[in-house]
């Protein structure tokens, strides 16, 4: 597993002997999988919208499918980024839109309504995964109103700020008429 990273090490640099635990959780893997799935589906919708509409008996809605493709790709990229939680919520919202669009095609005269029912089932299943993953990747930043430790006594100046300020004033005063090197302005 570490072979690759060890091969590219500069000779003499430390190599991994035994890997430590990773903080990545199973839900991170799930998020990754959903992210790539989103991009894959998005690419199909964007570049082969006819295939999609034909399968669903919803010809004429190619533009809608294309725009859904762009949405899927964006949500996928976000899900693979540091903001995976936002990406997953975007996916949950997207699942809702997908379901609504599919339902609108579920008319009695649609010969492919079997496919639509199947697609709805799939969207439902994936929506559940999206929702689970979004729940479990909540950012762990403390909420804005969380109680926090404050540090009002950490000035960093053992002799106190006032002593630092007056020392600085004295130095400034002493150097008042000196012209800094390279300073041609000669401000009085």
């Amino acid at each position: 597993m570490f072979h690759f990273s060890n091969i590219v090490r500069t000779k003499g640099d430390p190599k991994i002997v035994e890997g430590g635990p990773s903080l990545k959780q199973p839900v991170d893997q799930l998020a990754r999988a959903l992210g790539w799935f989103s991009i894959g589906l998005g690419v199909v919708e964007l570049f082969a919208p006819r295939r999609v509409t034909e399968t669903l008996g919803m010809e004429g809605h190619e533009t809608l499918v294309r725009s859904f493709g762009i949405r899927e790709i964006m949500a996928g990229i976000m899900t693979l980024s540091v903001e995976k939680n936002a990406g997953l919520w975007a996916r949950v919202g997207g699942d809702g839109l997908d379901a609504a669009a599919l339902l609108s095609g579920l008319t009695a005269d649609n010969p492919k309504k079997g496919n639509i029912a199947l697609a709805l089932l799939m969207v439902g299943g994936i929506a559940m995964l999206d929702y689970r993953a979004a729940q479990d990747t909540k950012p762990r930043r403390p909420p804005r109103d969380a109680r926090r430790k404050l540090y009002p006594n950490r000035s960093g100046f053992p002799k106190g700020i006032e002593s630092v300020r007056s020392a600085a004033r004295q130095i400034a005063h002493a150097g008042h008429n000196e012209v800094k090197q390279g300073d041609a302005r000669r401000v009085p």
Binding site: F2, F4, S5, N6, V8, R9, T10, K11, G12, D13, P14, K15, I16, V17, E18, G19, G20, P21, S22, L23, K24, D28, I77, M78, S81, V82, E83, P139, R140, R141, P142, R144, R148, K149, L150, Y151, P152, N153, R154, S155, G156, F157, P158, K159, I161, V164, R165, A167, A168, R169, I171, A172, K180
Partner: protein, 391 residues
């Protein structure tokens, strides 16, 4: 030995790795006694800076005891010496080192062919910080090989605890350089964005350098309280308008000096639409940085003023108001810190009791807990400001 190893985005583990060895006569090996996690490490944790490989050891704020020296160290260091390791690896001999421009040392970047391509010219080698800066193993580990050790060290005396000295490796000189390159005059208002460890050091430095007024900007109450303790007037950018408050505090003229201690990962907020756009572009790799703070600084800075940027940017930034920057006659100074340019003076100030940089430490834990602490520090949980790790 144990070391904190980068395995990918948000995946740092405490692995067992082989001990470092002397590779070059100018090397030394130290046994690490203390090391720290830096805001720059968070950019790597998020994989926002290109050039990391799985297996890279993290860490660039380290101190310890010399346990082995190469034959070329020339008596400059010996076994048993106590040193702080500057995060910039320096040769001490090239043209840039001679000018004190240590972070752009021309010798120490061992992967300069990469850096030459990306940045036009290679900069110095850095510990634990991407292959663009040499891919040197870092110091969040039990042992560290220090290349060019005859020049790359800060000798420190016994009798002062690690906690007071450790930050000579990076954040103290970084905050200091940020303030020093503002050419602070006694009448100046210095506005500082970001009250993380670097911002905290910049606040103290601006006060030591005699600023009339220091204004600190952040959104985290614990960090703002620490900024206030250090002598700053504070602005909470989540609840107040930064532009309005800065105008108020400077009689409508704007601060003469502005310091960016935030860098490429400025907070993303719905009320700051440019940050949303930057974040979206970052995701599709159409922009590498979120330069909200740069934009704000250029806009509020008093004409003729100076903008100092210790915050790290990695690649391309969009929509910088160059019109305002040029017409207001602003000056921008930036850079990775030339650590050794400042450390003699700063060590003396610590020894004299003028400043005690340990005020910033909120968490001290064993090295093994490092991976969790990356998360705590990143999420600003438990009022965390600075984490020190003990191997």
């Amino acid at each position: 030995m144990k070391a904190l190893v980068w395995h990918g985005k948000e995946d740092i583990r405490c692995d067992t790795v082989t001990d470092p060895e002397i590779q070059d006569p100018r090397d030394a090996i130290i046994k690490v006694t203390s090391c720290a996690i830096c805001g720059s490490d968070l950019h790597l944790f998020h994989n926002f800076i290109p050039g990391m490989l799985p297996g890279d050891i993290m860490g660039h704020e380290t101190m310890g005891e010399v346990v082995e020296v190469g034959s070329g160290v020339d008596g400059k260091l010996k076994k048993g010496d106590r040193i702080v390791v500057p995060f910039t690896i320096i040769c001490g001999e090239c043209e840039q080192c001679k000018r004190g421009n240590f972070s752009v040392c021309e010798t120490t970047n061992r992967k300069r062919h990469l850096a030459d391509k990306v940045f036009g010219h290679a900069t110095a080698g850095l510990f634990g910080y991407t292959h663009l800066t040499g891919g040197y193993p870092g110091g969040q580990a039990e042992y560290l090989r220090v290349p060019y050790a005859d020049a790359t060290h800060i000798k420190v005396p016994a009798g002062i605890p690690d906690e007071q000295l450790l930050f000579l490796s990076d954040i103290f000189p970084t905050g200091w350089q940020a303030a020093a390159q503002c050419d602070i005059e006694p009448t100046d208002t210095v506005a500082i964005w970001g009250c993380g460890p670097v911002g905290q050091m910049a606040i103290r430095s601006a006060i030591l350098l005699g600023a009339n007024q220091v204004i600190a900007i952040d959104c985290l109450p614990e960090r703002l309280s620490m900024a206030e303790a250090g002598g700053a007037t504070t602005i909470n950018f989540e609840t107040e308008s930064v532009l309005e408050r800065l105008q108020e505090l400077t009689d409508g003229k704007g601060p003469e000096k502005c310091i960016d201690c935030v860098g490429m990962e400025s907070h993303v907020m719905a009320s700051l639409p440019d940050t949303l756009l930057d974040r979206a572009k970052q995701m599709v790799m159409a922009e590498s940085d979120r330069p909200h703070v740069l934009r704000e600084m250029i806009y509020v800075c008093r004409p003729g003023g100076i903008i100092s940027v210790p915050g790290v940017y990695s690649g391309l930034s969009d929509m910088l108001p160059m019109g305002a920057f040029m017409n207001k006659g602003l000056t921008m100074r930036t850079g990775q810190t030339h650590v050794n340019r400042w450390t003699d003076d700063l060590l003396r100030r610590i020894e004299d009791g003028e400043i005690d940089p340990s005020f910033v430490i909120t968490h001290t834990v064993p090295l093994e807990q490092g991976p969790e602490m990356y998360q705590v520090f990143r999420d600003k949980r438990d009022s965390c400001v600075k984490v020190v790790l003990k191997p």
